[in-house]
Assembly symmetry: C2
Homo-oligomer: 412 residues x 2
């Protein structure tokens, strides 16, 4: 932890440098000195093609190029343009029409959505609950608002979702505080690639309902990778369960355009609220707009208009879906190859189903990652293992990595 | 104040609807039903031409159109692209080369810059100090982070900047807390159009230095309208004084591309730090990047690349400057006409020098604004008067407004 000289610490654990950025810099440096073919940079949370180039969907790029000055230069309303709000809901729910109140407020990517959820559904010093394997910024976002992140073990001994662990930890926290925000990252969980099964979803919802009796419990689903979990309809099969759940608690969903529309750098997403209460829906809009006004004011207009145009034009929407499917299939092939190879060489991985990331549990993640770096393989060490971004490496690399990782881990 | 049903209040005063947005909606409605020529919408904080159309600089639009997919779709680094950081500093300082450490961290517009300044240079429940006429979001931003906004009267009885009031209030607050962030919005102060004179700047700095002895006092200059205060070099004449001041305290500057580059809806700005301490400069970068990561992650890349390209190409920069000058001259003419007319009809205004806004003090601002609305004149009622956006009305309207305002005020 960096000790402050002049700035106010405010209980935050502030690192000198963003960890992933530091690793990625070393990877780039090595590629420059020793040659690109000597380096596997498995740290990048963006979808790259087999030449290491960022994929930008040409169907989306064409819409970007059609924007008029008013469509990017003008302020969007604080909560998002009306067209975007509708398009974001359609994009999240697709064919499913939830029979509840649904509100969407625009945010700068998924990060902004999570930020606003924490700001409005937790209080100062509250604990927020998520899985022990988690996307590191959850902790950063919580600390910035002087909240704390607490975790439960994501998998039970059989490698299934640990609903019992969730129940215990939620009950324990709710003895000390009156409200609780629970963050579940699914499908294509970052960093493990796990996705809850329908049965697990059912159990999780019943568990949260039970834990939340007499308390204010909110469920936040981080669905940033929903379009990279196989068939887009199937990957949304949990949504009707949320419709049922939202009669008992507000259900929030962090929806992001970063990956699904390859619009990472345009900063667009939405926090969506499902609730059976008209008042809670209205309040959601009011408090989220207040938080937005106080953090980034309005959100970039260009990506909002892009999504609106896509959903206004069925042919264009079809093009986007087709193009995305190609890239998703490429990503899925990489994952399949990695899993096959891991099984062949006897590398134990966490139960990966889909998405940008896979994780390998190991004893000394920092040391394991360092050993791999010596071989030109750059991964991200987490608390309990290392994360590999299938999104940023080739199928060929996916074939050779498991053996190299096993060797590094076994060496410790 | 809205009472919460389910969400957490967290000490915030959350209105049902954004006030300015509500007024602007009524203006649009009236224009639709009674005709555009019956309505003067003096609420909009964006520069419109005499036909009420948003001005987007063609020189900037050409750069927007030249962007490659990588230049908008890729994530920018958390703190901004290296090119943007350099360009933002050049854009703020121009010919002046400060002899101190200068760091810039990208933010979504000026709002994000102010948000990060508050997050890192104040603590929970701290008071933040600004003038009694202030841009309303300061309070929203402070409350969202569970800080409080306190004010001192901006003008003394002679209509000059009230340095004495600043001194007294700062001393009073610093009896109760160990750090203080002071926000000064200048030049072209929103909402009065005031700008500190060099002598006033000198006094203000000496005052803050004196008040800050043994305490951690930070000065934040909100310079969102710096390019609309007459000659761009002259409007920067206070910067060398900040170089001197920053040996005693960190000086932060909120720099925005929204108005200067007509890139409102792209959300781009920077928080810039001037300090004589290498450690404080380094710490500034570290804490601001942490805050950014935790709020919006990275900032939109497109406007960062646009500013970089403009500063890489002297001919292009010249085009932008020339185009901006035309629009600034248009805005200044509107202000001159309003002032002349106000003097002629005997309307007392606050000492306006330049910028997007002018303010008229009055007894019952809400009622005055309502009376004006009956005549189709839409203004923003503040605590102590009404605000008129010269940026969004024609020169002709500037000529007719003072008489109408005087009539409304005198009627109460």
């Amino acid at each position: 932890m960096t000790e402050m000289i002049f700035a106010s610490q405010n209980g935050r654990n502030i690192p000198k440098e963003d960890k992933i950025f530091g690793i990625s810099s070393r990877a780039k440096k090595m590629a420059a000195t020793e040659g690109k073919d000597k380096v596997v940079n498995a740290t990048i949370g963006a979808l790259l093609d087999d030449n290491g180039k960022l994929i930008v969907m040409s169907s989306v790029d064409r819409v970007f190029r059609s924007l008029e000055p008013d469509e990017y230069a003008q302020y969007a309303p604080i909560g998002g343009t009306p067209g975007f709000k509708e398009a974001a809901k359609k994009d999240l729910f697709r064919d499913f029409v939830p029979q509840c109140y649904v509100e969407a407020v625009s945010t700068p990517g998924g990060t902004g959505a999570i930020r606003n959820a924490i700001s409005n559904y937790t209080s100062h010093n509250d604990k927020i609950l998520t899985t022990d394997w988690y996307w590191a910024p959850y902790k950063t976002i919580a600390e910035e608002q002087e909240r704390k992140l607490d975790t439960f073990e994501i998998f039970d001994h059989a490698g299934n979702f640990n609903t019992e662990g969730l129940a215990q930890k939620a009950a324990q926290i709710l003895k000390q505080q009156d409200r609780l925000l629970i963050i579940l990252n699914t499908p294509s969980h970052n960093p493990t690639g796990y996705g809850l099964t329908p049965k697990e979803w059912e159990d999780v919802i019943a568990t949260i309902e039970e834990a939340g009796k007499g308390k204010k419990v909110t469920l936040l689903v981080d669905a940033a990778y929903i379009d990279f979990a196989g068939d887009e309809k199937e990957s949304r099969s949990f949504l009707p369960m949320l419709e049922k759940a939202c009669t008992k608690m507000p259900v929030l969903i962090a929806h992001s355009l970063s990956k699904s529309y390859t619009l990472y750098g345009m900063r667009c997403g939405a926090l969506v609220c499902m609730t059976s209460s008209a008042d809670i829906a209205e309040e959601f809009k009011t408090v989220c707009e207040f938080s937005s006004r106080a953090s980034w004011s309005n959100c970039p207009k260009a990506p909002q208009v892009i999504l609106t145009k896509i959903y206004e034009n069925p042919k264009l929407l079809e093009n986007v879906m087709e193009e995305r499917k190609q890239y998703r299939d490429m990503l899925i092939r990489r994952g399949v190859v990695f899993k096959e190879e891991a099984a062949r060489v006897g590398l134990v991985t966490l139960p990966f189903r889909s998405g940008f990331f896979m994780s390998v549990p190991c004893k000394d993640p920092e040391k394991s990652a360092a050993l791999l770096e010596n071989e030109g393989i750059f991964t991200v060490p987490l608390a309990k293992g290392i994360r590999i971004a299938g999104s940023s490496i080739t199928e060929k690399d996916c074939r050779r990595l498991p053996e190299a990782i096993k060797r590094a881990i076994d060496n410790i």
